[in-house]
């Protein structure tokens, strides 16, 4: 279960999530400080650790559009936020799966800031409004990476199946 701490519209770009001017910072240990940097109040709350792990960011369609920068995923993951979006842009979705970001695709989600969401297989329940919304499963090939714990362990396993170079 998690509380909605930020409600966003559609087409939220990676420039919004992690502005380009911080792109020189690449390591997942360093990127969380710039999470939604230009949403100054939210960023300040994150940095003050005032937002508990498992809190939810709800977004409309096409979340994470734009740049391929992986910082946009590692910065959110660093705060253990859950993304619930109506749809996700391709590269962001793949990066999220590769890095193990907690992400739910829920094409009809309706939730406001402050609502409490509960996650069950195949659905999201908004405990505040009492409504339930179906989630979209990942394609099997992507689920395999999630099940392996991310792309690094998945690739490591594949690498060890190959003859040594």
């Amino acid at each position: 279960m998690g509380k909605v701490v930020l409600k966003l519209g559609k087409d939220i770009s990676t420039d919004d999530i992690y502005p380009g001017r911080f792109m020189a910072t690449v390591l997942p240990t360093e990127t969380p400080q710039f999470c939604f940097n230009d949403r100054t109040e939210f960023n300040a709350q994150l940095k003050a650790k005032a937002i508990p792990a498992g809190s939810v960011v709800v977004a409309d369609e096409n979340f994470g559009c734009g740049s391929s920068r992986e910082q946009a995923v590692s910065t959110i993951r660093g705060h253990d936020l859950v993304i619930v979006a109506r749809s996700i842009a391709r590269i962001f979705l793949q990066n999220a799966i590769n890095l193990g970001l907690n992400l739910v695709i829920c094409p009809t989600i309706e939730a406001e800031a402050g609502d409490e969401l509960e996650f069950d297989p195949g659905k999201v329940r908004n405990r505040t409004s009492g409504k339930e919304f179906a989630t979209e499963p990942l394609p099997p090939a992507r689920q395999a990476i999630v099940d392996a714990g991310g792309l690094i362990p998945y690739t490591r396993k594949k690498l060890l199946e190959l003859p040594a170079r």
């Binding site: 001017r21 369609e61 391929s68 842009a89 998945y154 190959l162």
Partner: protein
């Protein structure tokens, strides 16, 4: 059942007889491109190898390209140190397709790859940059990936778990009006499709207009296909592709162009007639907020930017220099020009375009991504407005969330530089 161009390329690269949309494949990768974010790729690459007892050696250094462009010369110690780390990796593994900060060999990755003949029709290209869609202009399947996925490619030589994207066929007909061109076409198309209209799909371009279009123009439309969410744009290779590769990119080896089957299955077909298309402007803060120029003409702009992987090529500079010749950049407006590569910079210098820009009052900067992504040069002040030939206008894109970015062609940018307001180049600068 017939296949689209991308389906054929993926079938070949995956060693399958045929594939169809939504199949899962693991294609071998012909070229893997990164820029400064290779620093993160190296980090992830090393992590993959941890505990395996294997040395972190890339599968094929000849298939890796690394180009410094996003922050050149380095804007600060962090970037400089990452560039240094990458140089060490390049030297250690003998990566020959490495383009450092140089006037002869340097430039923007999406210009370097085509102009050096690194991308060929029918190949599979991945890049840690969303505008890797550009290279579809040469008839290859080229798409953006994240740094960790690139590390996986470096380790295995294949792209894992790739879902064959459904293809949208775009048929473009008609002749452009004067001062209207490929940038206006792709902005118009993005406006029609919306920012997510081609998500997880390929745009395959056909029609007389595309056949008559130079490779430079094709690079522009494929480059911005990602702004409609497309995995890639692609122009099936033709005589122009071969001309470009032989004459401009110096490719001598055999070419293996791929054409779609006559009975290829497309998700849908979109038709565009460009003969009455006006110059198009993408207004803040999304690229699909596209309007014909008449609706935004007269808007005051403080910064004009000509350059980037979208419109920093010689033809873009030629058009802009032609419009600016003998004119001045308006007081209160500054104009920045970023040729897309060192080679283009030299050609523009020899052709006299750079002289025209400087005489008009524009500042000619070194090749690179420059102000496009707001990290390095040409940041905007609060409430300032930029008009740029770049590819994104997201809030904060040019370094300041309190500013606005409008996107346009180089003709519109040049005409507007003279007046200081968004100006239709068909009417000329005052």
């Amino acid at each position: 059942m017939g296949m689209t161009v991308v389906e054929k390329i993926l079938a070949r690269a995956a060693g399958a007889k045929a594939v169809k949309a939504l199949d899962i494949v693991e294609p071998r990768v012909d070229l893997a491109m990164s820029h400064e974010n290779a620093a993160l790729v190296i980090n992830q690459f090393n992590e993959i190898h941890q505990g395996t007892g294997r040395e972190p050696k890339p599968w094929d250094p000849d298939r890796i390209a690394i180009i410094f462009d996003h922050r050149v010369p380095a804007e600060g110690p962090k970037t400089a140190t990452n560039q240094k780390l990458i140089r060490g990796f390049v030297a250690r593994h003998g990566i020959a397709k490495f383009h450092d900060i140089r006037g002869d060999l340097g430039g923007i990755c999406h210009q370097i790859l085509p102009e050096r003949g690194y991308v060929l029709p029918g190949s599979v290209v991945v890049g840690t940059d969303s505008h890797t869609t550009s290279h579809g202009a040469l008839g290859c399947f080229s798409f953006g990936i994240g740094a960790t996925e690139m590390a996986s490619v470096w380790a295995l030589g294949v792209a894992l778990n790739i879902e064959v994207p459904p293809t949208i066929k775009v048929v473009v007909t008609g002749r452009f009006q004067e001062h209207v061109g490929p940038k206006d076409l792709i902005l118009h198309l993005i406006g029609r499709l919306t920012a997510q209209g081609a998500n997880f799909r390929v745009l395959e371009f056909h029609g007389d207009t595309i056949r008559a279009m130079s490779t430079s123009g094709r690079l522009t439309i494929c480059n911005m296909s990602v702004e409609a969410g497309a995995t890639s744009g692609i122009v099936p290779a033709d005589a122009e592709t071969e001309r470009y590769l032989r004459q401009e990119a110096g490719v001598a080896g055999p070419l293996a162009p791929v054409q779609p089957d006559a009975d290829a299955v497309y998700e849908k077909v979109i038709e565009v007639d460009v003969s009455r298309l006006e110059p198009q402007i993408a207004c803040p803060h999304t690229v699909d907020n596209v309007k014909p120029i008449g609706e935004v003409a007269g808007k005051a702009v403080q910064q004009i930017v000509i350059g980037s992987c979208t419109n920093g090529r010689l033809d873009d500079l030629e058009i802009a220099a032609g419009i600016l010749k003998g004119k001045q950049v308006a007081p209160g407006t500054r104009m920045l020009v970023f040729p897309a590569s060192g080679r283009i910079y030299s050609q523009a210098l020899e052709a006299g375009y750079l002289q025209e820009f400087m005489k008009a009052g524009a500042v000619v900067m070194n090749s690179g991504c420059g102000p496009c992504l707001g990290i390095h040069q040409g940041a905007l002040g609060d409430e300032e407005v930029a008009l740029a030939t770049t590819n994104r206008n997201f809030k904060g894109r040019m370094g300041n969330p309190k500013s606005e970015v409008y996107l346009c062609s180089s003709a519109v940018a040049a005409a507007s530089a003279i007046t200081g307001v968004i100006t239709d180049p068909r009417e000329g600068g005052r």
